[in-house]
Structures are given as structure tokens and as C-alpha cells.
Amino acid sequence: MTTTLNEPGTANRTPPVRAPRRARHWGDHLFVVPAVVFVLATVLYPLVFNIDLSFRDVGVGEIVTGGAEWVGWENYADQLGRDEFWHALVISLLYTGLAVAVAFALGMALAVYFNQRFPGRNIMRSLLLLAWILPTVVSANVWRWMLDGSYGLINTLLEAVGLLDGDLFWLARPVPALFAVVFATAWSFTPFIMILLLAGLQGIPDTLYEAAKIDGAGAWRRFTSVTMPLLKPVNLTALLLCFISTFKTFDTVFLMTRGGPGEATMILPIYAYNEAFEFFRFDTGAVATTLMLVVPLGLSVFYFRSLRREEAA
């Protein structure tokens, strides 16, 4: 009798009431298909293509016609033996570290400041976001003009307060050029950090500060003992996102200095660009970009581990 109550192919172990739910689950997964296709086409395929390229001998002759010879680790060995690569890596880490430190310090200061209530706060916060919204091509060129030795605003201001006498071409000297690109990058990332940290600050209950006040804690003590520990996950996220974005920054530095003067601002993305698209060495360009993945990847692992520890605690 029981068999007649079921459709062919449906066994007794599956209660009939669950069938539509199961179908709905299967159907729901279809919505992920465009996203999967998108990720496969725009992220995974180029990534795999780039890694494959880094193991082949690809000059200008092979990039179009194909047929590049597989050379194993040879390109990596060549690249790791080049002083220029290590120089670019060191400059990249220096540039990223300094830019993130400056952006974080400024972002934190602004977040703490704007976490207080005062008239005009919201308008000022929105205005500060302009630096983040502004297209890089605009901000980098504006910085380039402002730092010009002959007619730049920065030199005019420095001369007005008596700190400078004569022309100083910031982007023509190695050390000033590095500081200039660091500051321009930090300037554009600061509002992003500020917004992230401000959201974190607003999640800290006022009662904690009141309790700390009653215990006699001053402003600095409240910042170090209440704010900073509670902001730790937000801080980590902000630092990591900022580090990864800055480490792969290309446009700001390219537009301001093209990696110069000399090799002073030759960060890895520009080094890889020059190798591939200026000198037509696509293989070594691919090696450089593949190796570039290692630093943010390592940091991401560290980040997720520390997040897991936070959650477990």
C-alpha cells in the first residue's frame, strides 16, 4: 500500500514534506552562478594565466603567437638573483609601511576627534571623505603640481613661513620624492581609515567610559585601556585592508614619479609594469606580480588567525 502513495523513484526514507525545500535549496544555488562565472573569468583565470606565464620563456615574440617554452623555476631564480627586484621589494615595503603608519595615525586622530559631538561634525566628516572619493588620477596630479619646485603651493607656503629659500624640486630628489608619494598615498587613505575606526568607536558603550572616569582614569588612560583594546579587531581590519591596498598601489606613484627619480620610488607594481610593458619581458613581469602576492597573502593568513584567536577568547 505504501508504495502506491509515493511517486516513482522517491523512497520511503525521504519524507514527502521535505522535497520542495530541497528543490528550493538547489535552485537558490543557481543564483551564485553569475558570481562564480564572474570570479572565474576576472580573478581566477588571469591569476592562473599569470602564474603559468611566470614559468615560461615569454618575450614579445611569444605573447601573441603562443608556443612559449616551459622553463620551470628558471624565471624565479633569475628574478630572485636580481638586485633590482630586491630593491623594488624593499621600496615597496618601506613605502607601504610608512604610508599605512601615517594614514593610520591621522585616521585614528580624526576618528577620535569626530567621535565627539559638536555642530558641523557631519558636514566636516563628509568633506574629509572627498580625499577618498577623488579619482587617483586627479589627486596624484594635484600633488604633482603642488610639489612642483617652481610654482608649487607647498614651496610657496614653506617660503612664506621662512622654512625654504629657493626652489626645491621634491620629486626630482630621491628622499623627498619617496616622502612625497608616501604622504600623497596616506592622504588619500586617511578618510577610509577614519570611517572604519569611527564605526568601531561608536560601537563602544558610553558606560565603559563613565565607569573608567569614576575609577579616576584620565583621557589618555581611557584611550589606552578602553578604546584601544576594544578597537583591536577594527584596527586589525583597517590596517590589513590599508596595507593590501597600498602594497598594490600603482597609479599614485606612477603618475607622480613613474618610479623615479632613479629607482627611489620604484615599487614592485611599477617594476613589474616596466618589465612587462616597457621592456616586453612578460615572463619576468609575471614572476614579479606572482611574488607580489606572497606578502598580502601572508598577512591575510596572519589576520584570519588572530581573528580566530579573538573569537575563541
Partner: protein
């Protein structure tokens, strides 16, 4: 129950199919737009695509080219040329990427120095047979024509040529009682006299990358040197003089950050008494700064008279289905009477010797300078971008980085040798 489940699956399948169809449509839209620009259309109409880096039609350089293409269309019924502007910095990269994707234009207007690289990459086709039949190859200036040659075959036709000369501010030189310099010692002397703390004597582009090597290459050639051999007496002489001029204030330290447009602006604003630049800025200077009294002189000469060639070539892509139509456009654009009208608009010089260039004395100076043009050949042509970048690096190291000229050229020579050795 089963019926309900079946309807549900069918409904979801239909929805999923809809989503996939939409995705497929989006993909098709993304890749299909360029396909319309090539191939024979209906009724014998032909649409050709042409990629260039001159500028959009609302810029002076882009407008001149668009005017030329419009003229061709007017004279040739059924032919449409769709021009696409790609910025210079992205041009070669875009061509190579498009070639890898099998989506090239019919005609490409390329830089003379990248012709060999694009031929090696299989992006542009061998035109030797067409050129033999055409029979006008011997009309072209030797150095410019050499940029179209790869392993004895012709891969492009020179479109226009350009050369570098000295622009000078007549008022400033007259006030100082000076004539344009004829040797580099005079150039340094004049530049020093003409600088006064507010303005500099000489300006040129020394920006990071290959563009910033031009002036130093010009100075090196004048001393009888060879850019492939920077570590030589001529190389040290050239670099020492440039470093001295920068250190002494005759040339601004800012040249290390200036491209050629910036250099033109410095000259136009009276910040520089002389500049080394190409003919590109002739009409811009005349139109934008009518009150500025300026003129042009030949570059100073020491051991030899030389200038740096700047040239664009016309090439046909390997993937075109309209090679005959593309060749017809190229050959038409190279007719002397067409060039005679087009070149003054474009502020360029003829790459061939049978074009009436008019009687403008300034253009005559550039045309004379063009006769002494130098361009890289052979392995140096294939690695020219890297070699020139290294030469700029030597300028930077000596002028801004504190290295001695001898150390700077020795360091750059190692990199130049490596670049030349990498040429396959």
C-alpha cells in the same frame, strides 16, 4: 506532492536559465562591440578600424588626423574609417593584449621605435610585396625608412617625421647680446648667462623613462658618441656637462620631472630662455602665446651634427580581413599633395623628400635638422625603450642622486649591455 516538486524545479530551472542568458548577453555585449568595425559590410561597403595615440578629435593633434580620415572617406564612397584613440602610454600594451585576444584594428599608427617589437610579436604584417609594387620606398629619408625594416622586410610605412631643435626666446637672447649657440660649450655658456635665479637658461625633458633620455642622447651624439656605448669618453663628456649645468643653475633641477609638454610650458611662461623640443609645439606656441618672441635654431654641433628622430609609422595588422583596403588608405595618406596639406596642421615634418613644405623658415630649420636625424637600429631598436630608460637613469644618478658622471655611465652601461643581450 511530486507534481508540486516538479513544478518547482521547472520554475527554478527557468529562472536560472534566465540568469544565465542574461550573463551570456552581458558577456556578448562586452566582447562584440569591436566586431562591427571590421569586415566587409553589405553592398560592398567597407568599414576599417584605425588605432592611434594622437588624441581625441577635440584636440589639435586628434582633429588633424580625423580631418585627414574624413577627406579619405569623402573621396572614397563606401569606405568608413573608425578611428580609436588610445593614450600613448597604453598604446603598445593595448595592441599586444588585443593581439593575444585576436581583436586587432585593421590599421595601427605606431611609434617608429616600437615597429620592430610589434613585428616580432606578430601584431603587424610584412608589407614588402606591396611596397615593391608601390615603388615609392626610395622617396623616404634613410633613417626614417630604417625604422620600418625588420630582418630585411618592410613592416610599416613612415606616416610623419619629427626632429628636435633649439627653440630660443629672441627677446632674452637679444638683451644679453647673444646669438643662438653653435657648439655645446657655447650652449653651456649662454644658458649660464641667461639664468638669473628667476628663470633658467635651458630646459629639456629629463623625466623618468625613455622620454627623458632624448636631450642626453642628442648631447652624446654631438660629441660623436653611440647610445649603446654610454660608458665612453663622449658619454662622460655629455653627462658631465648636463650635471654641471644643473648644479650651476643654468638648467633647472626640475627637468628631471618634466615631460616635453612641461618643458614647452616653462619656455612659454618665460621660465626658460631656450628649450630642446620637437616641431610638435610650433603652432601651439604661436597660438597660445602670441606676444612671445621666439625662434628656432639648429642644435649645437661638436664632433658631429645629429638630432633625435621622432617618427610614427602606419602598419597593417596580421588579423585584418581588409588588408587591400587598409593598404589603399595608407598609400593615399602618403601622397605628397595630401601630406602638404596635412603636415602643417599636425606640426610634423615629411618623412619623404618630395613634399612641398612651403617657405616657412622655422619649418625649414626643422626640415634641415631632420636630415641629421638618428634612430636606433638592429638590437638597439629592439631594446630601445630599456636602453633609453637606462640612459635617463644615468642622468638622474649624476644630476640628482649624487653619483659621479663616470660611475653613473658605468652603472648604466652594465644595464644597457644586459638589455642588448636579452634581445632574441
Amino acid at each position: 506532492m511530486g507534481t508540486t516538486g516538479g513544478r518547482s524545479v521547472a520554475a527554478w530551472t527557468a529562472r536560472a536559465a534566465g540568469v544565465l542568458a542574461a550573463a551570456a548577453l552581458l558577456t556578448a555585449c562586452g566582447s562584440g562591440s569591436d566586431d562591427e568595425t571590421s569586415g566587409d559590410g553589405d553592398g560592398g561597403a567597407t568599414t576599417l578600424s584605425l588605432w592611434h595615440y594622437y588624441g581625441t578629435p577635440d584636440t589639435p593633434t586628434g582633429a588633424a588626423l580625423q580631418g585627414l580620415l574624413d577627406r579619405y572617406e569623402e573621396e572614397h564612397d563606401g569606405v568608413t574609417i573608425e578611428a580609436r584613440h588610445i593614450p600613448f602610454g597604453d598604446f603598445t600594451r593595448t595592441l599586444l593584449q588585443s593581439a593575444a585576444g585576436g581583436d586587432l584594428p585593421d590599421i595601427a599608427l605606431i611609434n617608429g621605435f616600437t615597429t620592430q617589437a610589434l613585428a616580432d610579436a606578430g601584431v603587424i604584417q610584412d608589407l614588402s610585396d606591396r611596397v615593391d609594387e608601390w615603388g615609392e620606398a626610395d622617396r623616404y629619408f634613410e633613417t626614417g625608412w630604417q625604422t620600418t625594416q625588420v630582418d630585411g622586410a618592410t613592416y610599416a610605412i613612415p606616416h610623419v617625421a619629427d626632429a628636435y631643435a633649439v627653440y630660443y626666446n629672441e627677446t632674452m637672447l637679444a638683451e644679453a647680446g647673444l646669438e643662438p649657440p653653435t657648439t655645446w660649450a657655447e650652449m653651456q655658456d649662454h644658458a649660464t648667462q641667461l639664468s638669473d635665479g628667476e628663470r633658467y637658461g635651458l630646459a629639456f625633458s629629463g623625466i623618468e623613462g625613455d622620454e627623458g633620455a632624448t636631450a642626453l642622447v642628442i648631447r652624446l651624439l654631438a660629441a660623436g658618441g653611440d647610445p649603446a656605448q654610454l660608458d665612453s669618453e663622449a658619454g662622460v663628456t655629455a653627462l658631465t656637462q648636463f650635471s654641471d649645468m644643473i648644479a650651476g643653475g643654468a638648467v633647472s633641477n626640475g627637468v628631471l620631472t618634466w615631460n616635453e609638454e612641461d618643458v614647452k610650458n616653462q619656455f612659454a611662461n618665460g621660465q626658460a630662455a631656450m628649450m630642446i623640443n620637437s616641431a610638435t609645439y610650433l603652432s601651439v606656441l604661436a597660438e597660445e602665446n602670441p606676444e612671445l618672441q621666439w625662434n628656432v635654431a639648429l642644435l649645437p654641433t661638436d664632433a658631429q651634427a645629429s638630432t633625435f628622430l621622432s617618427q610614427e609609422n602606419l602598419a597593417i595588422s596580421t588579423s585584418t580581413e581588409n588588408a587591400d583596403a587598409a593598404w589603399d588608405v595608407i598609400a593615399w595618406m602618403q601622397q605628397p599633395d595630401v601630406l602638404a596639406e596635412y603636415l602643417p596642421e599636425r606640426n610634423k615634418l615629411a618623412a619623404r623628400d618630395d613634399v612641398d613644405t612651403g617657405d616657412d623658415p622655422v619649418r625649414a630649420i626643422f626640415a634641415e635638422q631632420l636630415q641629421q636625424a638618428w634612430a636606433p637600429e638592429g638590437d638597439l631598436a629592439a631594446a630601445s625603450s630599456e636602453v633609453l630608460t637606462r640612459i635617463q637613469g644615468a642622468l638622474q644618478a649624476a644630476a640628482g642622486g649624487g653619483a659621479s658622471p663616470a660611475d653613473a655611465v658605468a652603472e648604466a652601461q652594465g644595464q644597457i649591455d644586459e638589455a642588448l643581450a636579452n634581445v632574441e
